[in-house]
């Protein structure tokens, strides 16, 4: 049952798609016309976008480096927890700041040393990125699943379901999101841990994921609801209904393939937002706590010591700016590749 998505794509995009699809086929197959899936066309368009390809590679590199953080750290020979100034007191001066120039950047400590504690910044950044990206990816996946299910359901079923889901979305959107994250973090943590006890890190991670998930899915759900509202009146859905397909089958086989594009585009826009939000929470001191490395916590330290050791901000800051910038550019490229008409 691949035809509906192709018909839909051809119907909506026919002026832009057909010449492109045909020309390519003529070159490669000697004039023979072969159908190409929208996915193949999208990939072909994306490959031609140099900014998009470059940013895609950079973003991918961030994920690979974060995922391989323990491997890289063991090759590099350090970990983010050890106080290296304990074994070598010469690393920090009498005020607790790196004695070497530029925040202690050297062949041994590539990105320098954390003042006061003497930890290695390079491994802290690696592990910190791993924490932040891991949490954000989990949030994105949960948000996409929830938003898709609820949005498509609301749009397809309509009527009372749509009305009440709409009210729930309106209500959740009334929460001032960042403030709610901050306010609910300790409460969600308290759900799992009795007061006074030490909170294990994984509980904080779960809490961070839960609060961002609970308030993150409405935008996507609303968008998909709108799309499905117009899709469900189309002929291929009607045809499926007449053949006696169940609502679940129609949602799965007819509607979902047609909303893959907005889902992909939205998730590339959402992920950097979740990364910065998670880092923001740790920056404010309600997210990930010491000693677990976290991208946002590095900015907290960097802000406190910036006056005496500005280098500490350089590497985590530059990494985050590059990551967010590239992810945003990638989002634009993905959108352009799926919908060449949208333009910038």
């Amino acid at each position: 049952m691949t035809s509906p998505s192709q018909t839909a794509a051809a119907q909506s995009d026919s002026p832009g798609l057909e010449p492109e699809g045909l020309k390519k086929e003529k070159n490669s197959k000697g004039g023979e016309l072969v159908g190409r899936s929208p996915g193949q066309l999208m990939w072909a368009r994306f490959k031609r976008d140099r900014t998009g390809m470059f940013c895609g590679i950079v973003v991918l590199a961030f994920f690979v480096i974060s995922a391989l953080a323990p491997v890289i750290a063991s090759l590099y020979g350090k970990d983010p927890y050890t106080f290296y100034s304990n074994s070598d007191p010469n690393l920090l001066d009498e005020f607790g700041f790196p004695s070497g120039p530029n925040g202690g950047v050297s062949g041994d400590f590539w990105f320098g040393i954390e003042p006061q504690l003497g930890r290695d910044l390079f491994t802290q950044l690696l592990y910190g990125m791993r924490t932040s990206l891991g949490i954000s990816v989990a949030v994105t996946i949960l948000v996409v699943i929830t938003g898709t299910i609820l949005g498509v359901t609301a749009g397809y079923l309509g009527g009372r379901t749509d009305y009440w889901l709409g009210r729930v979305m309106d209500f959740l959107m009334a929460f001032p999101s960042q403030l709610t994250f901050v306010a609910f973090m300790p409460v969600v943590v308290a759900l799992f841990v009795p007061p006074g006890d030490e909170t294990p890190t994984y509980i904080r991670v779960v809490a961070l994921i839960l609060v961002q998930w609970a308030l993150g899915w409405m935008g996507l759900a609303r968008l998909l609801r709108g799309q499905v509202l117009s899709l469900r009146e189309r002929e291929f859905v009607e045809a499926a209904k007449i053949t006696g397909a169940s609502p679940w089958r129609i949602i799965r086989k007819e509607l979902l393939p047609n909303v893959v594009t907005p889902i992909l585009v939205q998730s590339t826009y959402m992920l950097p937002l979740f990364v910065t939000a998670e880092a923001g929470l740790s920056y404010l001191g309600v997210g990930i706590m010491e000693p677990t490395p976290d991208w946002g916590r590095l900015f907290r330290t960097a802000g406190n010591i910036y006056e005496s050791d500005p280098t500490f901000l350089l590497f985590p800051g530059a990494a985050m700016v590059i990551f967010v910038l590239c992810f945003n550019l990638l989002g634009d490229s993905v959108r352009d590749a799926f919908d060449p008409k949208s333009g910038r």
Binding site: G196, A279, L313
Partner: protein, 323 residues
């Protein structure tokens, strides 16, 4: 207009009641809030005060009702009467929650409104400039710079700006000075926070105003105006710009709550004592009445501004019927 305002106000009140209920039950159903608030260094006095404060012996719905009615008619505690908008007393400072919030409000209001003015003026200005000089080097420069700046978070830019302007001695540390008594000091004290806060917002306004302006310039009425021989500048600002305001107002409405979030991070970065800072401090000390008060108060503010933004549609575009 009036029925619209009435309907929206009613909706906002229902939302606020629901929001307060959800927040209240989440906060007070997760265990003894007195224990949670006390944490490790808990004294019997503290627990007693907290129990008194909240009437914890009563069932939850009664507690919620007491809280809600306290906001409108005030509440009597054993330590004394708490006047009309009563949100209870802070666990940490033993201060009245409402007066603490009112105390902190001017800082956050100045920060958020000033920041909004900054990113609207800079963002829309840059977008108009880029649309006016479309395709030139200037257009590309404006678009790319705004793209890069939007990726620099407040907590990265803040310390850098402090390093350049404050630690070097060029400017004083950012601080809140009362607007009415010292307008110049108010402006200079908040200038850096405004600019830093506006960077993450500016880019989307630049993009949006640039692309809608380009769209608008191709509209029929703009072409007609040009054909009549109207000055290009006049057509650009009066005809095209008005049409491009609608999408800008739409994203402004969606940005209101992130504006508050931005203010919170900015207050933290520049050590300004506003409502956002209050929220963070009370969360770290598990000061539940304060957190609850701040949540409700800021949600109410955001809802009010949402209504204002929606009403602004009708003024910008007469075709919009508020029904």
């Amino acid at each position: 207009m009036l029925p619209f305002l009435f309907r929206r106000t009613f909706g906002a009140i229902v939302t606020l009641i629901l929001l307060s209920a959800v927040t209240f039950f989440v906060f007070f159903a997760v265990g003894d809030p007195a224990l949670m608030a006390c944490g490790k260094n808990c004294t019997a006095d503290n627990i007693a005060l907290i129990h008194q404060n909240l009437g914890l012996d009563k069932p939850l719905p009664t507690q919620y009702w007491d809280f809600l009615s306290g906001i409108f008619v005030g509440r009597d505690y054993s330590i004394g009467h708490c006047g009309a908008p009563c949100f209870g007393y802070s666990f940490a400072t033993k201060q009245d929650v409402w007066s603490t919030m009112i105390d902190r409000l001017p800082t956050t209001a100045s920060l958020a409104l000033g920041g909004a003015v900054a990113f609207l003026v800079i963002g829309i200005g840059a977008g108009l400039l880029a649309a006016w000089k479309r395709g030139t080097f200037l257009d590309k420069a404006v678009t790319s710079i705004s793209m890069v700046l939007s990726s620099v978070q407040i907590y990265i830019l803040g310390p850098i700006v402090l390093g350049i302007f404050v630690y070097s001695g060029i400017m004083d540390s950012p601080k809140y000075v009362d607007l009415t008594s010292n307008p110049a000091g108010w402006f200079m004290g908040l200038l850096l926070p405004w600019l830093v806060m506006s960077t993450i917002f500016t880019a989307q306004y630049t993009r949006m105003s640039r692309s809608t302006m380009i769209e608008q310039l191709q509209e029929e009425h703009v072409r007609t105006a040009k054909a009549k021989g109207m000055p290009a500048r006049y057509v650009f600002l009066r005809y095209a710009w008005r049409g491009s305001l609608i999408p800008i107002v739409t994203i402004l409405g969606m940005d209101l709550s992130s504006l508050f979030g931005g203010a919170m991070i900015t207050e933290f970065t520049f050590s300004l004592a506003g409502i956002g800072r209050l929220a963070i401090d009370s969360v770290t000390t598990l000061d539940l009445p304060m957190v609850l008060g701040v949540m409700l108060f800021s949600a109410a503010l955001i809802l009010v501004f949402n209504i204002i933004v929606d009403a602004a549609y009708a003024f910008i575009d007469p075709r919009v019927r508020l029904s």
